[in-house]
Amino acid sequence: MIRVNNLSRIFFDSQRGEIKAVDSLSFTCQAGEIMGLLGPNGAGKTTTLRILATLLSPSGGTAELNGFDVIKEPDKVRASLGFLSSTTGLYPRLTPEEILKFFGEINGMKGAGLKSRIDALIAEFNISDYARVRCEKLSSGMKQKVSIARALIQDPPVLIFDEPTVGLDVIAAAQTMKAILEYKKRGKCILYSTHIMSEVEKLCDRIAIIHKGTLQAIGTMEELREQTGERYLEDIFFSLMGTGTTFAENGS
């Protein structure tokens, strides 16, 4: 479903010079699986996911999503993808219903099919009470539900979540994780990036730990335990970082 092979992305910064945000990264993710991308701030998670979502082009390597190459068939990649991050906001002056309609239409849906899909999502995520209220008036928990529904509008086979719980209260965060687990059961291929270890432990089938753009380790919790000889994810993580206690920000 997702196949990332030797992926790299270099940024040029006037002050910092050349930054290898992603460096020869390879991993895969299957249908019905949640793959966790764990790494400190600046590890290159967002850059990787943006390349997968065709927002950025890679400097090297290849990436495939639902069988489509991110460079050669970006439209088909985006059509197969539901993307949710802390930087995918909702149009403040549109209502949830209008937003779902807009993204449905962008995905080529229309008429009765689109209408019933919108109604189903509104029912599933309990949005009906505020489906016709402008998003600027909604709480962050309400917005999050609408955002998840928005990412699911065309029922895509692949879902990518980039730190989706940032800025949410505990309840909204828990609801988000519940929805993600539910969609895993429905056979979606899910990529979940975070720097919060407890989220990874709760959600993910496999974990890829990245640091400074490179893959440090990949596998199930069991496999990671075997590799490092540590029991808890936190200890596994620090032993892989090789720092002991502190996160070193990439490039600083």
Binding site: S14, T54, L56, S57, A79, G89
Partner: protein
């Protein structure tokens, strides 16, 4: 794709208070406000005076036919007769009887002229004096005609009749043709400013741009939809402004009351005017969107856009200077040309060669800017924001091919 984006953008605009104010309310309300203020000011100065009758006292030694002539006058004169009086008693009498003017004979013989006493410190007395002067001038001409006619054998009348060849319309068109094109250009451009910051900069700031970009929207459809939405608001502002202008001129006190400003815009020029508005809106707003796209947030975008707007409309003001011709050369100066073009339309003399040059040059600018925008506003640039390096790479080739 284009239509879906366009519809969404317009829906958003029509729910935005600022956009409504600048693109709809201001263009409509501007003329009524301007004309209402002008009207108020004019009434304040002259209106009250014009409506008041002049109180005139005529001494009994003034010739009877002259008094009759005064009484027949269309002007609002309140005439009362007073007995003969000494020169020295005129002033106290004027004050006591609350008069504006006193008319009397300066001596006892028929050759002695008629004297008009007035108070130059009083507006009302001045106005009464002016009225009397005009009536007495007419009286003199009448007398002159009578005596000339009696001399001429056949009683042929010699009279001067003014026939002004400049029709009232063309005179008022000339006056308003200088002011109005400038206002239309300014309002049209202003109607697009807020939307042009809104479509990219504000979307990036509110983090909605990325949401759209991860969906299967085509970049061309997206940008075109956004541009057309902005241009629509700008054109809407321009059209509403013209309609408000026409209606204000036709139906307000200002348009009706001052006869020599009766004004109408030739309806046949409206299609051309519309084309002009669309082109100026497209060109100017394409520029505005591009400039705003470099800003991180709304405030920064405003600080970029405001000076460009302020400088950009100066050429429109230049066109309001009377005497600047609309010819093949001035038709090449951006903004000035469109102002002059509107001027020629309002004044009702369409000149085709400069018109074609103006419209073509605007179209060329528009295409250049849109092409530039399409190259600049790629998916990654929209997400990350524009940086100097990106303009460089577009203008001088992509040095960092790998990184883009």
């Amino acid at each position: 794709m284009f239509w879906i984006v366009l519809r969404k953008e317009l829906l958003s605009f029509f729910r935005d208070k600022n956009t409504i104010i600048y693109s709809i309310i201001l263009p409509i309300a501007l003329y009524p406000i301007i004309f209402w203020i002008m009207n108020e000011l004019m009434t304040l100065h002259y209106g009250s005076l014009r409506d008041m009758p002049s109180r005139i006292a005529v001494s009994s030694d003034v010739p009877e036919d002259m008094v009759l002539f005064l009484m027949k006058s269309d002007l609002d004169l309140e005439i009362s007769s007073i007995p003969l009086m000494m020169k020295s008693s005129v002033d106290p009498e004027l004050k006591k009887l609350d008069l504006d003017v006193v008319i009397r004979r300066s001596g006892c013989s028929d050759e002695d002229p008629v004297e008009v006493f007035f108070d130059s410190s009083s507006d009302r007395s001045n106005s009464a004096r002016d009225r009397i002067e005009s009536v007495l001038t007419d009286y003199r001409i009448e007398k002159l005609n009578q005596s000339v006619n009696s001399i001429l054998e056949n009683g042929m009348e010699i009279r001067l009749i003014d026939i002004d060849l400049a029709s009232q319309e063309s005179r008022s068109r000339f006056l308003l043709g200088i002011l109005l094109p400038m206002i239309v250009v300014i309002i049209t451009v202003m109607g697009g400013i807020h939307p042009s910051i809104e479509v990219i900069t504000s979307e990036r700031e509110r983090k909605t741009l990325e949401t759209t970009l991860v969906s299967p929207v085509s970049a061309t459809g997206l940008i075109l939809g956004k541009f057309v939405a902005v241009i629509t608001m700008s054109v809407l502002a321009g059209i509403l402004n013209i309609i408000a202008m026409i209606l204000t001129l036709r139906y307000t006190l200002f348009g009706g009351a001052s006869d020599n400003l009766s004004f109408s815009i030739p309806l046949s020029t409206l299609p051309l005017m519309l084309i002009g508005i669309v082109l100026i809106a497209a060109t100017f707003n394409a520029l505005m969107i591009l400039i705003a796209a470099f800003a991180k947030d709304f405030k920064e975008a405003q600080s970029y856009v405001s000076p460009v707007y302020a400088i950009g409309i100066q050429p429109a003001v230049v066109a309001a200077i009377p005497g600047i011709p609309f010819n093949s050369y001035t038709a090449l100066i951006p903004i000035t040309n469109i102002s002059l073009f509107f001027r020629s339309l309002i004044q009702g003399n369409i000149e085709w060669i400069p018109t074609i040059i103006t419209l073509t040059s605007l179209l060329v600018w528009c295409v250049i800017l849109l092409t530039f925008a399409r190259r600049l506003l790629r998916r990654d640039a929209l997400v990350l924001g524009l940086e100097k390096q990106q303009i460089k790479s577009i203008m001088f080739g992509n040095r960092f091919k790998k990184g883009e």
